[in-house]
């Protein structure tokens, strides 16, 4: 008897145990709860700044859908976000922490801009293809660089890709202030608007990047799920030792995947510059590279889920700009809400894999178990 009381004293108030795998339906339900809770938390935040959360949420949704033009705007926001989320997914699947999507977007856009500015006279279709390739290769090389150092010296890729973001940004500001400055802007530092020949065509009123993005969703899904290379990425992500033991060339896989990952992000940059901005600015990426990481993670690296999440985030983003003009709250509201949602989802993952056992409940659980 005395032994049990002793046990009770030393036993912690709560402890964590692993739980058996939950059925898929329950997992989805848990995640929906997390999203609901995060919306409530976001609502409390909105209420704290003196606004009615229901009205704000309503405005966000109506702001993104209220007219054909608003919807087109939402899709326009989605294009670079969707494409770069797909790009970082490849790297994340491999557990390569590529947070350099921002830089890869910028550098891809920069390479494409070179052709848009100086070869604008050539055949339109040919030029667009060249710009696509330039964006892809530019972004790919920007992603390849940290991968080379990773496989050779095990250089921390998180920090390296991050530094490359800022380096790419300042390359653009150098080009803007110097060699590529628009001569007709009378000294105001900006890059000239692209020739019509060098800008992307429209399809249903939106630049045709949306079609490329949708095609990419399917391509990446097939690539990850049904190709040998995609399988290799997952194995390297799970365990490099296993991959090596199975005779895979891990270094080669890391380099190849990072080139692809960066290349896709670079393409997002090219599409943003030549399809939406029709020029190159320092804000061509504008934080999309970071949001893409949240999107990819929320969607559990599933391309179709990425399509859904990036669409919802674009609604949030576009709706926030309407909230800004109607209620004077800045668009940073979208970042805050995105952060809160991901905090809750990150916390929710715990309850999918583990559960708490409280001191009182221990005996009951042991009896059952």
């Amino acid at each position: 008897m005395s032994k049990t009381t002793d046990n009770r004293q030393t036993e912690p108030f709560a402890r964590i145990v692993k739980r058996a795998e939950l059925p898929a339906g329950k997992i989805i339900l848990l995640r929906l709860w997390a999203v609901l809770l995060s919306l409530i938390a976001g609502g409390v935040f909105i209420a704290c700044v003196g606004q009615n959360p229901f009205i704000i949420y309503g405005t966000i949704i109506s702001g993104a859908f209220r007219s054909v033009m608003a919807f087109q705007g939402t899709v326009k926001v989605m294009i670079p976000l969707l494409i770069s989320s797909l790009g970082v997914t490849l790297a994340f699947k491999m557990k390569f922490w590529n947070i350099g999507a921002e830089g890869q977007i910028i550098f891809g856009a920069t390479c494409a801009t070179f052709f848009a500015l100086f070869f604008s006279g050539i055949n339109h279709v040919l030029l667009v293809i060249i710009m696509f390739l330039a964006g892809f290769i530019g972004g790919g090389l920007w992603g390849l660089l940290p991968a080379i150092f990773k496989v050779k010296y095990d250089t921390n890729e998180t920090l390296f890709t991050l530094m490359l973001n800022y380096i790419a940004l300042h390359i653009v500001s150098y080009l803007r202030d110097g060699p590529w400055m628009d001569p007709s802007s009378q000294g105001f530092p900006k890059i000239a608007r692209f020739d019509k020949n060098a800008s992307l065509d429209k399809l249903f009123g939106i630049q045709f990047g949306w079609l490329i993005a949708l095609v990419l969703v399917v391509l990446i899904f097939v690539y990850i799920k049904y190709t040998k290379q995609g399988y290799e990425i997952s194995v390297v992500g799970e365990s490099q030792d296993t991959a090596r033991y199975a005779g895979m060339n891990v270094k080669m896989i890391v380099l190849r995947t990072m080139f692809l990952s960066g290349g896709i992000c670079g393409m997002a940059g090219m599409i943003q510059a030549t399809g939406s901005d029709i020029t190159l600015t320092t804000s061509v990426a504008g934080g999309v590279g970071f949001t893409a990481i949240i999107v990819a993670w929320l969607a559990q690296l599933n391309p179709f889920a990425i399509l859904l999440v990036s669409f919802l985030f674009s609604v949030l983003e576009k709706g926030s700009s309407v909230v800004q003009s109607n209620f004077g709250l800045s668009t940073d509201c979208a970042d805050v809400l995105q952060g809160i949602i991901l905090f809750f989802i990150l916390g929710c993952e715990f309850f999918i894999r583990y559960r708490f056992l409280f001191r009182k409940g221990t005996h009951k659980a042991e009896k059952e178990g």
């Binding site: 964590i16 947070i99 530094m163 800022y166 300042h170 202030d177 952060g339 990150l346 715990f350």
Partner: protein
């Protein structure tokens, strides 16, 4: 000579926010948790500290508020990664995005309420943050300006770095902390309360980062609020941790070197070295990347890297 002194003084000023961020992140990483949210914690600290300063006109309160805000944001990170065992990279990144968004949002929200349309700190507090002057010392030639002319932040930062160095290497709590970062399983078996050590030090690190943030919002722009005032310094701080080899004492030197890089462009005339301005803006990031590569090339440079960095600890899986 005079320009050299001015340059060194400016370098120390520009390096100070990095010093706070680096020391805070060292304490965090010593628990085995890589918090990529430094930029976010600094932003939140910058925002809350600035606003408290703006409304109360009290320097000490502003610093305390920024530390509390930094601590609170680190608490979010700690709950998610220590208790809920969430992925540290993603949690930290989210904290950064959330923190920057939060700071900009609140900044613009309060800005819109002011009749003037700008947020400028009131007189008392700007006077308090100005360079100190100790009669007899500050007037000394060269030494006076180099050692006794800074804003109180600089001295607070150096004191915090020195205390942290002593704490890490010479106190029981500090040694326990290092044990947790090296091998949490062994530390747990030795009777160290791993979870509590992690929480305490992550939160402490966040508080220090928060103070670094308020330096960015109060000093760098002369007491006027602008959006994105931390502007990537938090990220440089994360990299400086490697440069400083996880030693708070080296962080002092590293911060001031990087501070020097940040202000270089104002002190090198275009006629001497005709580099474009963008190059100087890029320089701290370029050097950080080089430092990363070089320190990874020579493995001996990572001798202080906490062995369990980035790995969450689950007692039943040890």
């Amino acid at each position: 000579m005079e320009i050299l002194i001015k340059f060194l003084v400016a370098a120390v000023g520009a390096g100070t926010p990095l010093l706070f961020g680096t020391v805070g992140e060292i304490l965090t990483e010593k628990t085995g948790h890589l918090n990529l949210g430094v930029e976010g914690m600094m932003s939140i600290g910058a925002c809350v500290g600035f606003m408290v300063g703006y409304y109360t006109d009290n320097f000490a309160l502003a610093i305390l508020a920024s530390a509390a805000a930094g601590a609170f944001s680190a608490l979010i990170y700690a709950v998610l990664t220590v208790t809920f065992m969430a992925n540290q990279n993603v949690t930290g990144l989210t904290l950064t995005i959330f923190g920057i968004g939060f700071a900009n949002f609140i900044g613009i929200f309060i800005l819109n309420k002011t009749p003037e349309g700008t947020l400028k700190l009131p007189e008392n507090i700007t006077a308090a943050m100005r360079g100190i002057s100790i009669s007899g010392l500050s007037e000394l030639p060269v030494v006076g300006e180099l050692l006794f002319s800074y804003s109180p932040f600089v001295y607070i930062g150096i004191i915090i770095a020195c205390i942290s160095a002593w704490y890490l290497n010479h106190t029981k709590a500090g040694l326990n902390l290092k044990a947790v970062g090296e091998n949490p399983g062994a530390a747990d078996a030795a009777g160290i309360k791993v979870t509590s050590v992690k929480y305490r030090n992550i939160i402490l690190g966040g508080a220090i980062c928060g103070i670094g943030g308020v330096y960015c919002s109060m000093i760098i722009n002369g007491g006027v609020w602008i959006s994105n005032n931390v502007g990537g310094l938090g990220w440089i701080a994360v990299a400086l941790v490697i440069f400083a080899n996880w030693q708070p004492a080296y962080a002092i030197l590293g911060s001031f070197v990087f501070g020097a890089l940040r202000v270089l462009k104002y002190y090198i005339p275009q006629s001497v070295l005709p580099f474009p301005i963008a190059f100087y803006d890029m320089l701290p990031f370029l050097i950080t990347a080089l430092v990363l590569v070089i320190s990874s090339m020579r493995k001996s440079g990572r001798i202080n890297l906490p062995a369990a960095l980035g790995l969450n600890y689950f007692r039943e899986e040890r």
